[in-house]
């Protein structure tokens, strides 16, 4: 009986803690967003962050997109050939990339390359009292540190997703046309005919939502390192970064499901 009581009360405590952190994370986001209205955003800082995100992830995304497009084409080809409808290859590759794989894979790459780096950078800033210093200089950390990063992610992730889609469709072309010998005309026609404006829009909305989560969560874990981690220091930073990466990926995939089901 006592054991049951304990486990129920532990569950309660864990739930409360989770609800607390969701509340705190929401407040954190609201503070970042509202700092938009308290003064000018440094354009220079936003550009710097856009450059940082692009620089860290563009090459990785191109390579990942190429192979993803190739393997998707390979798998679809294998299936479609059984039904004698290989001329649908272009449509199948393009649709799966634009609606699903492009946004998700891009987001995963950005989490790995940018989310982790951001969380450890912000965590180290917390450790070294850099946020305390900003407070004492009457500089708004939300506006000065967080906002440019969030805006840059909202700008970059949809862009990178578009790059992923295009390169992926190219990868599919290589497999479909050069390896399997399908006609180039049929592949390109398939791509052109099936993609509607709505498909592209949904893909872009997804990547915008992903961009929000995959920057917000690492920023949150880094900024509140002192509240979320038992130990600060290098160990806290590395634990926090791992948690942030896992959490970003899970929430990103969850939001993928939500947006997909709303869009269908």
């Amino acid at each position: 009986m006592n054991a049951l009581f304990n486990s129920v009360s532990n569950l309660g405590a864990a739930t409360r803690k989770n609800i607390d952190s969701i509340g705190l994370a929401t407040l954190f986001l609201l503070r970042i967003v509202s700092s938009l209205f308290t003064g000018l955003v440094s354009f220079k800082q936003v550009i710097k962050q856009i450059y940082f995100i692009g620089n860290r992830s563009l090459i990785v995304i191109i390579v990942a997109a190429l192979f993803t497009g190739m393997v998707v084409a390979l798998q679809f080809y294998d299936t479609l050939v059984r039904f004698g409808s290989v001329d649908l290859l272009g449509s199948a590759v393009a649709l799966s990339l634009i609606k699903e794989l492009g946004p998700v894979m891009t987001a995963l790459m950005v989490i790995a390359r940018v989310g982790s780096a951001t969380c450890s950078e912000i965590g180290i800033m917390r450790n070294e009292q850099q946020f305390d210093a900003l407070d004492c200089m009457a500089i708004n950390s939300y506006r000065y540190v967080m906002l440019p990063r969030l805006l840059a992610a909202l700008f970059c992730v949809p862009m990178l997703t578009a790059v992923f889609d295009l390169v992926g469709i190219g990868g599919g072309y290589i497999v479909g046309v050069h390896i399997q010998g399908e006609s180039p005309g049929a592949y390109i026609q398939g791509v052109m005919d099936t993609i509607s404006f709505k498909d592209v829009l949904v893909g872009q909305i997804k990547s915008l939502v992903f961009g929000l989560f995959i920057m917000w969560i690492p920023l949150y874990y880094g900024f509140y390192l002192h509240l979320n981690q038992k130990n600060m220091g290098a160990e806290g930073v590395s634990n926090g970064t791992t948690q942030a990466v896992v959490m970003s990926a899970i929430i990103m995939l969850f939001s993928d499901y939500i947006v997909s089901s709303l869009a269908l």
Binding site: E121, I124, M125, E128, Q129, Q130, D132, A133, L134, D135, C136, M137, A138, I139, Y144
Partner: protein, 265 residues
């Protein structure tokens, strides 16, 4: 009787269930150097963080320049902070900016001075800190002592009325420590700043303090001039003073010779 610029009254603070500050009362008068001294874990940094308004206490009040910092509105606090400079223990320079860009931050954000004027002011402050020619370096390229001095340059760039300094000489070699102590005295004398220093280094306490507040396990056990503290009958204070041999930190050369002689034996 001068009116104190900082008043701390009945300040209690705790982390979880641990009580870290227990009824701390103190005053800082304009133009003086107050040193808060105490052993490791006595609550010095906690007290400083409360004075800076970075932490909320369990109870108690702190008035700085007529503003109650725990109840002040954001704008009031911001205006107050423009009159305060803080030099953190490790410098707390933003790691993504060069030294010069760090030092100019407060000017860029809180004044409308033009770039050229800011450049000149930054160069002057860096020179004052004996850091001329290091403006282009990144914080990761600086030594511990240089980080502290760069942090100090940033703290005084707005010519604040009030300066807070956490552990100016901790972890530095004796020569650099003495230099920093002298810098603090210069700031008080030349710029008429009121300075609050937190430290456990006795040598610098006795060198720079006008008045000393001794913290012991979160309580103020003494509050007086350097001489009063030195001659205090309180056993805890005498232990604190005597445990650290003074000869060890006379100056760089003596220290070096002592080390070399030891090696010969």
């Amino acid at each position: 009787m001068v009116k104190p610029i900082i008043t701390v009254e009945h300040l209690f603070a705790q982390y979880g269930d641990t009580h870290v500050l227990k009824d701390v009362n103190l005053e800082v008068n304009p133009g003086e150097i107050l040193v808060v001294m105490g052993g490791s874990g006595s609550g010095k940094s906690t007290l400083l963080n409360h004075m800076l308004g970075l932490k909320t206490p369990t109870s108690g009040t702190i008035m700085i320049d007529g503003v109650n910092i725990f109840t002040a509105k954001n704008k009031q606090l911001r205006n107050l902070r423009k009159k305060m400079g803080v030099a953190f223990q490790g410098g707390a320079l933003l790691s993504s900016l060069t030294v010069a860009d760090n030092v100019r931050l407060p000017l860029e954000h809180n004044t409308s001075l033009d770039t050229q004027t800011i450049d000149i002011m930054v160069r002057m402050k860096l020179e004052l800190m004996n850091m001329a020619g290091t403006g282009h370096l990144m914080p990761s390229e600086l030594s511990g002592g240089m980080l502290k001095r760069a942090g100090l340059a940033r703290a005084v760039i707005m010519d604040p009325k009030l300066l807070f300094f956490d552990e100016p000489s901790a972890g530095l070699d004796p020569t650099t420590a003495v230099e920093l102590d002298e810098l603090i005295l210069t700031l008080r004398d030349a710029m008429n700043m009121t300075i609050v220093v937190v430290t456990h280094e006795l040598e610098s306490v006795f060198k720079i303090a006008d008045r000393v507040v001794v913290l012991f396990a979160g309580e103020v056990v003494a509050n007086g001039t350097v001489d009063e503290i030195r001659n205090s009958p309180d056993e805890r204070i005498q232990n604190m003073i005597n445990r650290q041999p003074n000869t060890q930190r006379d100056d760089g050369e003596v220290y070096l010779n002592r080390l070399l002689n030891k090696d010969k034996n």
